[in-house]
Structures are given as C-alpha cells and as structure tokens.
C-alpha cells in the first residue's frame, strides 16, 4: 500500500508537471502574452468581503490597449476583488485564439470590425463602444522628414514602417484609409518594414528608424521621442473600441460586470487619461 501511494503521488506529480508544461507552451504561443496580477494576494486583512473576491476573468485585449487595461484591472480588483488576466496580442490573433480554444470571458479588440466578426461567428455578444481609436501619422521627434499630411508618406525617399494589415487593427484601418485616398500604391512602395502589432512601430519611431508610420493617437501618451501629425478628418478612418462578453464565458455575470465597468464612467476616465477620446 505504501508503495502504491508513493507511485500514485509520483505519477500525479508527473501529471501536474506535464500540465504545467502544456500550460507554459500554450502561454508561449503568443509573444506578447502577459498576466496582470493586480494588487497583492489576499490574506492580509480582508476587512469587508468584496462581491467577486477570489474570482478571475480572462480578457483578450488588443496589444495597443495594454496601458489603460492594466490600470482598469487594478481598479477593478480593488473594487470587486476579481483578478483580471489579460492576453495581449494583435486583434486578429486574439480572435483566432478565442476561436481555437473557446476559452475566455471578455474581448476588447482595437477596432469594432473584429468584434463584429466575433459576433457573426457566434463567439461574442454585441459589445458596447466606449472609446475612439484615432489613427494619426507618427514621426520621430523633430519630424526630420517634414511630414505634414497623408500624401507626404508617398513622396520619394520617405521610409515608412507599417503594421501588417492582416494581423493588426491599425494596419487594416491604415490600409483602408490609404486605399480610399488613392494613396496605397505610392505609400506602400515606401514601406521598409511591417510589424505584427502597433507597439513595434512606436519603438521604431522612438529610435528614429524610419520617417513616418501610421499609429493610434493614444500610442504616444507618455512617449517623448515620437510626435504626431493629425490626418485630415475627411481622409481619416476613426474607429471605435468595443468591449464585448464572449459567449463561451463560464461566469456571465462577472464578465458583464467587467464589460460595464470598462464602458462605464471609471473605465472611460482611465482611457481618457491614457490619450483616448471616450465615446459620449
């Protein structure tokens, strides 16, 4: 009996280890996946019980939204006790993760296009639009190439970095905008590199690796080395950011509570602080 016990405990340890490994591999799928464990663990003076103490939600979020989302997670944890675990990635990558795994509770893509697609596939419920995502031209500090408008991106000798239109919301929006303005040909001829998410573009601008890019207005909040040039309203393709509850959620009330929180006054205020324009 003693031996049986030893063996079963070894094999269960072994099971545990392999499931940990599987988990690590799954987590490794996305290069930009992070977990935000907001606020310290419980154990210290839980004075009053919070409504969702000890519970957690898994939220897919566009990689470019990480700063306000992290802050929202902290405040939400303080108010409800619920821990938010984020998977940050390109909006389309998140969508395929939802589709593949069927897991997760809430989806916050960089543009409404993706939530519409999720609703269409039966993966998400109709979302609430809570902030505007405004494409702008990003240039290195001092604007060395003298970019003043969208047309300038197509000029000879301008180096442009751009987000992959298939993978990132800003890539898709930027491509559509340029196509509508009849500038896609000339501007795409100037592409020196493309990236899977908008974040790398900000890095390249901050390091002065190219003359211009198209990013979201909010990307440069708190970044000193990047300047923006506004795109004329009639050419621009301003997106709205939705938050929607996934149909596969196992805790609908809590997921809805989080979505309402993000789209509510507090969520909008945090977004405004990070350079977004809230939806009125």
């Amino acid at each position: 009996m003693r031996f049986c016990k030893t063996r079963s405990s070894v094999s269960s340890t072994c099971l545990l280890m392999s499931s940990l490994l599987v988990f690590a591999c799954l987590a490794g799928c996305s290069a930009t996946e992070t977990e935000v464990e907001a606020a310290p663990e419980v154990g210290e003076a839980a004075v009053e019980t919070l409504p969702y103490e000890g519970e957690s939600l898994m939220v897919y979020s566009g990689a470019g939204l990480s700063k306000p989302m992290d802050e929202i997670a902290e405040v939400f944890k303080e108010e409800t006790g619920c821990t938010i675990k984020y998977t940050y990635a390109g909006s389309a990558q998140n969508l395929s993760q939802v589709e593949l795994t069927g897991q997760g509770d809430v989806y916050v893509p960089g543009a409404k296009y993706y939530s519409d697609s999720a609703v269409e596939k039966g993966l998400a419920e109709e979302g609430q639009d809570f902030a505007y995502h405004v494409p702008v031209i990003g240039v290195p500090v001092g604007n060395p190439a003298g970019i003043t408008c969208l047309e300038d991106l197509g000029n000879d000798g301008i180096d442009v970095v751009f987000a992959d239109p298939e993978a990132a919301a800003i890539g898709k929006a930027g491509k559509k905008m340029l196509e509508n303005a009849g500038l896609w040909e000339s501007v795409s001829a100037n592409f020196v590199a493309q990236t899977p998410t908008v974040n790398e573009l900000v890095v390249y601008m901050a390091m002065g690796q190219a003359d211009a890019t198209i990013i979201w207005e909010d990307n440069i909040a708190g970044v000193d080395d990047v300047e923006i040039v506004q795109i004329a309203d009639e050419l621009n393709d301003i997106k709205t950011i939705p938050v929607c509850v996934l149909t596969g959620t196992t805790n609908h009330d809590l997921a809805q509570a989080f979505a309402d929180f993000v789209a509510g006054e507090e969520g909008k205020a945090i977004y405004a602080k990070h350079g977004f324009r809230p939806v009125e």
Binding site: F3, T6, R7, V10, S11, C14, L15, S18, L21, V22, C25, C29, A31, A89, G90, A92, Q93, L95, S96, E99, L100, V161, D164, E166, A167, A168, F191, V192, A193, Q194, T195, P196, E200, Y204, M207, G208, Q209, A210
Partner: protein
C-alpha cells in the same frame, strides 16, 4: 520503517524505483511526441497545397538562404576563436570565454533590441549602412541576428572538438617541419571534420528557427523578411491556420532531420550545453 526483512524490502524498492523511472520517462516521451503529432496531423494534410503558395515558397527560400549564410559566418568565426581558446593560455581567458557565451543566455528579444540599438542608432550603424551593409529592416539583418544568437553554440562545439584532439599530433607535425598554421591545416582541421559538420548542422537548424532577435531587428514584413518562423507567427496572428501549421510542420521535419544527422556525426546534445564530449 521496513527493517525486519531488508533483502526482500530492498528488492521491492528496486522494482518501484525502476517503475517510477519508467513511468516518468514514458510520460515525458509521450508528451513530446503528442505535442509534435498535434502539429503534424493538422499541418501535413495541407502541406502540399501550402507548398504551392508564393508565401511559403518565399519563406522556405529566405530561411534556407539566411540560415546557410549565418552558419557559414559562424564557422568562419568559431574555428579560429575556438582553436585559440583551446590551445592558447592567456590572461583573461575565463572572461573572454564567458563573454562569448552571453548571447546564448540572453532572451532572443533582448539580443534583437541590442542589435537594433547598435546598428540603428549609432554612428557605426550609419557608417555601415552608407557602406552598403544596411542591417535594420533588411535580409542582412536576419543573417546578423542568427549569427549573434548562434555563435556561442558553434563555438562550444568547436572548442570541445579541438579539446578532444591530442595536441601532441601537432607537436609531431611541427617536428616534421610544419609551421603552426600548417600543423593546424594539415592535422587538426582534418581531425575535427566530424565535429565541424555536427556543429554546422545544429547551428543551421537553430538558425532556421531563430525568431525573436530578427523580429525586433528587421520586423515581420510579408514577402520581404518573412522566414518560416515569421510566416508561422503572422499566419497564426491572422487566423490562417493551414498555412501556419504547414510552416510549423516544415520546421519540425527539418529540425528532426538535422538532429538525426547531428547524432550520426557523433555529436551529442550534451556537447552544446556542457561544452564537453564533442566529436572525433
């Protein structure tokens, strides 16, 4: 506890001991095979169709070109440096050896940022770009990233290979009138052939899979800097699973084949991490 019949007890312990080892080994092997089988079972059926697409063809060609070029560079640098570290004693040898190993311990993305800063933002980088060797956002950058990440592996294998060759063979050659270089070229180099081939094969396989450092340095531009791993990542990002898993299958096949060649040439995987037991 069991002390009354030590002989029987110890026999039973031995059986349990072996059983535990067998279970753990089988679990680990099964885990690895299962994970690979998941990719191959989905990737192989689409492989032929995917091979017809321009994107996969391009990434195979680019991966082959960059990995062969970076492996050649690794050989070029590792042979003299490894020979020097193996045969000469000098002050600071320990420090030099440690410096050479650093890229192996770094997360690839850190290597990528370091290379981006060095080649993108310094006078040296600008001078190199003006001289016709631009690396940021270019295919040359992929080769450079692979070289930087892989050189420690090649160096370790070459060093252990040279360490295993008796220096007396060179002394004998020199008593017969050879110069140091001639002794190296006519005696040591031919003797190290197996180690060289084994090292080159494993370096090449690693170069094929290099992703993080190159992603930072050159971006992930479709049909421009799209190697096989980048193709896998981009197509995962936009939900094109058949194409993504085909790229993954190709990488698995190449890795397994090269491991096989490496073993056949007398290399042992331990040589890479321990720096011991090369090939003779």
């Amino acid at each position: 506890m069991p002390t009354s019949r030590p002989a029987r007890s110890s026999r039973r312990y031995n059986i349990v001991f072996s059983a535990v080892i067998a279970v753990v080994t089988a679990a680990l092997a099964g885990f690895i095979v299962l994970a690979l089988a998941m990719v191959l079972s989905r990737g192989l059926p689409n492989l032929w169709v995917s091979l017809q697409t321009e994107e996969i063809q391009f990434s195979i060609k680019l991966s082959l070109y960059t990995s062969l070029a970076s492996t050649a560079l690794c050989i070029l640098f590792s042979v003299p440096v490894a020979y020097g570290l193996s045969r000469f004693d000098f002050k600071g040898k320990g420090v030099i050896t440690m410096i050479m190993d650093i890229p192996m311990a770094l997360p690839p993305i850190v290597s990528g940022v370091a290379l981006l800063l060095l080649f993108g933002t310094t006078e040296f980088g600008r001078w190199l770009a003006d001289a016709g060797l631009p690396v940021v956002f270019t295919v040359k950058g992929i080769v450079l990233a692979q070289f930087f990440v892989n050189i420690p592996y090649m160096l370790r294998i070459m060093r252990s290979t040279f360490d295993d060759i008796d220096p007396r063979t060179e002394f004998v050659a020199r008593t017969l009138g050879c110069s140091r270089f001639q002794a190296f070229r006519l005696v040591t180099l031919p003797l190290s052939k197996n180690g060289l081939v084994a090292g080159a094969v494993i370096t090449w396989a690693r170069a094929l899979g290099e992703f993080g450092a190159a992603l930072m340095l050159v971006g992930a531009t479709r049909l421009m800097t799209e190697t096989l791993p980048v193709s896998l990542y981009l197509n995962m990002s936009c939900g094109d699973l058949p194409l993504a898993l085909s790229a993954a299958s190709i990488l698995i096949i190449i890795s397994v084949l090269s491991l096989f060649i490496f073993e056949a040439m007398g290399g042992s995987p331990a040589a890479i991490t321990r720096g011991g037991g090369g090939a003779r």
